[in-house]
Symmetry: C2
Subunit: 193 residues, 2 copies
């Protein structure tokens, strides 16, 4: 068993022993909202937004982007589980700002090792051929966080399955301070009158 797997299961054991009355939480989010944010390891939405178990849906992907999958999740979130306010939260120093589709596809074409593995030779996994499959994926890189938040709110706002009465708040999480910074103009995007 890997060290990480052992640690995760040990942490889970500790969590479960103090689980208490969380066993009785209902399925629909108690505070009726959802957050779409980045997968970045430095972000803990429960901590930075004050969520307890049972409070809110949390959707996360690389960048916190309004992908088809995020929209699938948000539509399920409101239609079946009653959320009626949404937050789109990108963050400073995001990995998505550090590359382009072309860079990513070139890296993957040359090897499927991680960049770190390539540099360190940490594990002998052979030369590992690359793959040109990257070109079938839009990596959804980000040039400017404020613009990407507004773009993503816009995409969600105008989706035919998203009702106009749901407010969508746009914020950037600052990884240096832990603060949520409002994106100017974001919450006004396509707002229902």
């Amino acid at each position: 068993m890997s060290k990480i797997l052992e640690e995760v299961l040990a942490a889970n054991h500790t969590y479960a022993t103090k689980f208490g009355d969380k066993a009785h939480l209902p399925m629909p989010p108690g505070r009726h909202f959802a957050i779409l944010t980045c997968m970045d390891a430095r972000l803990d939405p429960a901590k930075y937004a004050g969520l307890a178990e049972g409070d809110a849906h949390v959707i996360r992907n690389a960048g916190g982007r309004a992908t088809d999958d995020a929209i699938r999740s948000l539509v399920i979130s409101y239609k079946l589980l009653g959320t009626c306010e949404w937050f789109i939260i990108h963050h400073t120093d995001c990995g998505m700002e550090t590359f382009t589709n072309k860079i990513m596809n070139n890296l993957l074409s040359s090897s499927l090792k991680t960049a770190a593995l390539e540099a360190s030779g940490w594990r002998d996994i052979g030369p590992g051929p690359g793959s040109s499959e990257g070109k079938y994926i839009n990596w959804l890189t980000i040039n400017n966080q404020a613009e990407s938040v507004i773009e993503d709110i816009q995409r969600i706002r105008y989706h035919p399955l998203v009702p106009a009465y749901i407010p969508i708040y746009g914020y950037i999480y600052d990884v240096k301070s832990g603060k949520l910074i409002q994106v100017p103009g974001a919450t006004e995007v396509g707002k229902a009158s």
Copy 2:
């Protein structure tokens, strides 16, 4: 300002005042792993798996499914940010077990109100026409959690951009106990020899 927005910003203010040395966390996950899990409000992966800020990537969508978007995120996670172990964690009592594509599309065709709003008349948002756009979305509902975990591991395992050396662990989180339960056979799916 909505009550929820006020509460989130107040919680964030408290979090930021005690941010401490988290300002210095590097971008790559310190513990080199990623978790793909469901957006369900009852799940807090940081708590159930023992994550501190900076430890691991967390990807979440409705069901914790291995969508194209989840795979986009996982590939970025290993290739650019060095994760080398992945967890796929679905859970008991998942909303995705409660409907079918047909049911969802019928609901959306009749109205874009939430089911709860329809029942309670909580806010007068007018009759709100439905939309037939649902039929362009595969909602990725779940019949059986153990099967969906194995299916999703399989989809990731055989993706041409996923290297064979990354172990993928399959678990089901039990919302009644907080425990992670191993899915029999899941970690063996397509495992590199």
